[in-house]
């Protein structure tokens, strides 16, 4: 498993993962988001679930997601997050950028073309 350093790139990436998760799953609580991210990463990524919460707060402060207390399937009180309208726009923009950027970075690291 590749160790991922928790730097600025990681912060941006994590935010994007959260937004994407909410886009596909709809309304979800923090624990659910964390589980989902790990699931998608297919065991290649192990995160401390705690690190998710400051990221969620930041997204909420930026107005990309909103939160509300609700009740879970098994009757637990939980705080649910969902995308706002500007969050939905943001993820479209971010996805395009991400694709463009990964394409460029892939070319950079492509073996021996010189």
């Amino acid at each position: 498993m590749t160790q991922i350093e928790k730097n600025a790139v990681w912060q941006g990436t994590l935010s994007l993962m959260v937004l994407r998760t909410l886009q596909t799953m709809g309304e979800q609580h923090g624990y659910g988001i964390a589980r989902r991210i790990e699931q998608i990463a297919g065991g290649r990524l192990s995160i401390n679930y705690g690190t998710l919460y400051p990221a969620l707060l930041k997204l909420e402060q930026e107005g990309l997601i909103s939160s509300q207390w609700g009740v879970s399937d098994n009757n637990r009180k939980a705080k649910y997050y969902k995308l706002t309208r500007s969050g939905r726009k943001q993820i479209e923009r971010d996805a395009r950028q991400w694709e463009a950027m990964t394409a460029i970075m892939t070319r950079f690291f492509a073996p021996g073309e010189e």
Binding site: H29, G30, Y31, G32, R35, N48, Y49, G50, T51, Y53, P54, L57, K58, E60, Q61, E62, G63, L64, S72, N74, R76, K77, A78, K79, S86
Partner: protein, 887 residues
């Protein structure tokens, strides 16, 4: 937008820390519950389920901390902490805080007060529409030494038609005439300015109530000034429309001008017949229309104010004016030949006479504030020593350098903000006092008010002071080395620190020297001005203005009236002699005329200009003006007798050199009613304008050899002239009950008023110099006291080893003297370098006056030694045994 929103959220979060904290605790709990539920479902034991959930979550403390940082603004949080800490410090160490706040409050307070005045007088734009487009136009004739001369109505009107760069032109009579008007049945003496109605349009001002003047207004129509309206009518708006008086001296009030409307400015007046300080205009009346057919192109009596067209530069207007004026000189060479016209921006015209003094005051208070800051910085530095261990401890526990610096700066800012609060209170009290004490004739004083600019200045001063006082101690604090400080148990400060404090005190002393030298030079100039012999004896003289009564409408009636008047005045017990003049010295009134000796009239060229006087009755005798040659006027010199003149020594020398002028015929210009007269006498020079302005050439005619005038009377008394006023009033009433004397003042009062600007400047700079010395003395005292306290052990050891207490005392005093000598030396150098700035304010003294400099240096050394006495005595009392036992 998202970023801004995020910051706002965080700011809000910062303000309500507890709410977010609770909410997040709930959220974490719910997270754990959900995770544990899942783990239980996967078949783990309760303990294991909980353990794994916690493990997966990571460090709860770290998560909480990260979340808290994201909720609020950590940097702000640390500042809030520092502010709380600083408040705690202020509350704990009251004496220290009080010293700092008082010092800074005093400094910021006087700076705010002076800035309020300087800002309103000098910096603020004039209270008119687009004031930077307003200009004044003047004429000059260097050959006859005429500068900033007023303009005739005809010339001004021609200019307004010819100049394409101006959109409007107004005229103000360049003398403000006191008049007696009936208000509520009583005669009130007022200053009336005569203006053209266009003047108000040019300035772009409207009346506060009613209207301004209009074309076609009757001569009696007046617009009141705000101050006069308040004073005389208690601010009653129904005064608009009211009529006053009857017959020829009647009229209507049509409006009231807003506060701050001031025109003409004192610098726009020349031949005012008002007394010093009486140039505040009470109302504006229409400029008298010229008599039909009269050509008054040579009557240069109007100050001209004009508005530049939008987008026109002053330079373009200058060119335009020069061209238009050239046409006027070519068309009327006999009147305008030799004269040139130039423009001055109105703001410049209004404030130029007081600019140097105002800037000098601002600079001086700035120096006082600087000294106050140095003192507080020194106090903080000294206290920093006591807190070294605390700072070292915090550094050892991981506080960053910048964090320690930030704490000291926050503390400095808190102190300076509290100081600024004290300063604002002080300024509120001091600013009106300054306005009251400001010399007569200072423009725009009515505009002085605590406005947002002043508040901004105070806030800026507070921030700058806060930074200034904390930057040196702060850098020191952030460089504390935890190991050495905590190890050594040191109580004292290093040599470097002590030297730094010494250097700061030397700077303070140097600044105090600069101010004190300035004060000393101004003081000596003032004494020199007081010592000036004005050419007459100003003591025991009473002066007043009386009105000419309309019933004395023939020369015979007037001669009889004056005969009675002077006979009655001289019969009052205590009156030695009575006389008068149309222009008394020190009253601000002046007029002049061209003169030329018969047979030597310059062809084509200009005549020499001489100040023109009409002496009444026993004027020379009353004033004690010596008759140097020939004779004064006698009763035989009256209407119908051969015209005679008396000239002063300066004019005699200019016209005749060493030759005897007596018996020569003198031509006088068209402003004199007598055009050719025999010179019968020469009198001594006198300083007419102010004691510090050299005498000008003067020519006197006899008052009965010309048309009637409103005379300024002067009486020589045997006792206190001020006490004679009631007797004189009743004597005047005996002559005619309708005579209303006004502006009754002693000549010494008038003389004192001419140096009002000097007194104001000198008194304030002396006050600031004294403050600077006291602050510097406190600084010396503080540094020496601290040095003694820190070196107690060393002193104890020295004493134990046999040093004499006297020797130690000398050591302390020597320390003070070294600081004083360094300060005095640098201060003198700086003062000499700055001398061009205040050379214009000095009188008969050089800016490098050795006596003043020596006096200041001696004073400074004395102050330093005095400040050293208490610490020195403390050194003598050091008990070696007890000091060495400490620890």
């Amino acid at each position: 937008v998202t970023t801004l929103r995020a910051w706002l959220c965080r700011l809000a979060g910062q303000l309500r820390p507890h709410r977010g904290e609770r909410d997040f605790a709930d959220e974490l709990q719910s997270h754990l519950d959900l995770h544990i539920d899942d783990n239980l479902r996967a078949g783990l034991t309760a303990t294991e389920a909980r353990r794994r959930a916690l493990l997966k979550l990571g460090s709860v403390a770290a998560v909480r901390e990260a979340h808290r940082d994201q909720r609020g603004i950590p940097a702000l949080e640390s500042v809030v902490q520092d502010v709380r800490y600083a408040f705690g410090g202020v509350a704990r160490d009251r004496a220290f805080a009080l010293a700092c706040i008082t010092t800074l409050g005093l400094g910021i307070g006087i700076n705010t007060a002076i800035f309020s005045v300087v800002n309103a007088v000098l910096f603020a734009p004039l209270p008119y529409a687009e004031p930077d487009r307003l200009i004044t136009i003047w004429t000059s004739h260097p050959e006859i030494r005429r500068q900033a001369n007023a303009m005739s109505r005809e010339n001004a009107l021609d200019l307004s038609r010819a100049m394409t760069t101006i959109s409007g032109l107004g005229m103000v009579q360049a003398n403000v005439v006191p008049a007696t008007v009936p208000v509520d049945g009583q005669g009130v003496v007022v200053n009336a300015a005569q203006v053209t109605p266009e003047t108000f349009d040019v300035l772009g001002v409207r009346a506060l109530h009613g209207r301004t003047l209009q074309r076609g207004d009757a001569p009696g129509v007046v617009v009141l000034s705000y101050a006069f309206w308040q004073r005389q009518f208690g601010g009653d708006p129904t005064v608009v429309g009211r009529t006053y008086g009857e017959g020829r001296s009647s009229g209507t009030v049509v409006g009231v001008m807003p506060r701050g409307f001031e025109l003409p400015y004192p610098s726009m007046l020349q031949a005012t017949v008002s007394f010093v300080g009486g140039t505040d205009v009470d109302f504006w009346a229409p400029l008298a229309e010229p008599r039909p057919g009269a050509t008054d192109r040579g009557a240069r009596m109007h100050a001209v104010v004009a508005r530049l067209r939008d987008g026109v530069s002053t330079e373009e207007a200058r060119v335009d004016l020069t061209n238009a004026w050239r046409t006027l000189t070519e068309t009327y060479p006999e009147i305008n030949g030799g004269w040139s016209a130039y423009l001055v921006p109105l703001h410049e015209q209004a404030v130029a006479p007081v600019r140097a003094a105002m800037l000098l005051l601002l600079g001086s208070v700035g120096v006082v504030l600087l000294i106050a800051c140095v003192n507080v910085a020194n106090l903080l530095l000294a206290r920093g020593v006591a807190r070294r261990r605390e700072l070292a401890m915090r550094a050892a526990l991981g506080a960053k350098r910048s964090r320690l610096l930030q704490q000291v700066i926050v503390e400095g800012l808190l102190l300076s903000s509290l100081g600024a609060a004290v300063g604002l209170v002080l300024a509120r009290w001091a600013t009106p006092l300054l306005v009251r004490l400001a010399p007569a004739g200072t423009p725009r004083l009515s505009e002085v008010a605590p406005d947002s600019t002043v508040l901004l200045f105070t806030m800026a001063a507070a921030v700058l002071c806060g930074m200034a006082v904390s930057i040196v101690p702060g850098l020191g604090a952030s460089r504390v080395s935890p190991r050495t400080t905590l190890d050594s148990g040191a109580r004292g400060s290093s040599g470097g620190r002590r030297r730094l404090r010494g250097a700061l005190v030397a700077v303070e002393l140097g600044l105090a020297v600069v101010l004190t030298i300035g004060a000393g030079l101004l003081g000596r100039s003032f004494i020199a001005v007081l010592d000036v012999d004005p050419g007459f004896r100003s003591d025991h003289l009473l002066t007043m203005v009386i009105n000419v009564l309309p019933q004395h409408d023939t020369a015979e009636k007037r001669i009889e009236f004056y005969r009675q008047l002077f006979a009655r005045l001289e019969s009052v017990p205590g009156v030695i002699a009575a006389g008068g003049n149309t222009r008394l010295p020190f009253t601000g009134a002046n007029s002049s005329t061209g003169v030329a000796v018969d047979g030597r009239v310059p062809t084509g060229g200009p005549w020499l200009e001489a100040d023109f006087r009409r002496a009444m009755h026993r004027y020379f005798e009353t004033m004690n003006i010596p008759i140097v040659r020939g004779r004064g006027f006698t009763a035989a010199d009256r209407a119908g007798a051969p015209p005679v003149v008396v000239i002063n020594e300066t004019l005699a020398a200019r016209l005749f050199g060493g030759e005897d002028p007596i018996g020569h015929q003198l031509h006088l210009g068209d402003s004199s009613p007598v055009r050719l007269a025999t010179i019968v006498g020469i009198v001594g020079d006198l300083r007419h304008r102010r004691p510090d302005v050299a005498p000008a050439p003067e020519v006197y005619i006899h008052y009965l050899q010309g048309p009637p005038v409103s005379p300024l009377l002067t009486l020589r008394t045997s006792g206190d002239p001020a006490r004679m006023a009631p007797a004189i009033r009743s004597a005047l009433k005996d002559v005619d009950p309708s005579i209303v004397p006004s502006n009754m003042r002693t000549m010494d009062e008038l003389r004192a008023a001419t140096v009002g600007d000097r007194v104001f400047l000198m008194a304030l700079i002396a006050l600031f110099g004294a403050l600077a010395l006291v602050l510097a003395a406190v600084g010396v005292f503080g540094v020496l006291s601290l040095a003694v306290a820190e070196r107690r052990r060393e002193m104890g050891i020295r004493l134990a080893l046999g040093a004499s207490p006297r020797g130690l005392m000398a050591l302390v005093v020597r320390h003070a003297l070294v600081l004083a000598v360094i300060g005095a030396g640098s201060g003198v150098v700086v003062a000499l370098a700055l001398s061009p700035l205040f050379a214009g304010q000095l009188f008969e003294i050089s800016a490098a006056d050795p006596l003043t400099i020596a006096g200041v240096v001696v004073t400074l050394l004395a102050v330093a030694v005095m400040a050293a006495i208490a610490p020195a005595v403390r050194v003598m009392r050091v008990d070696p045994v007890s000091t060495l036992r400490l620890d």
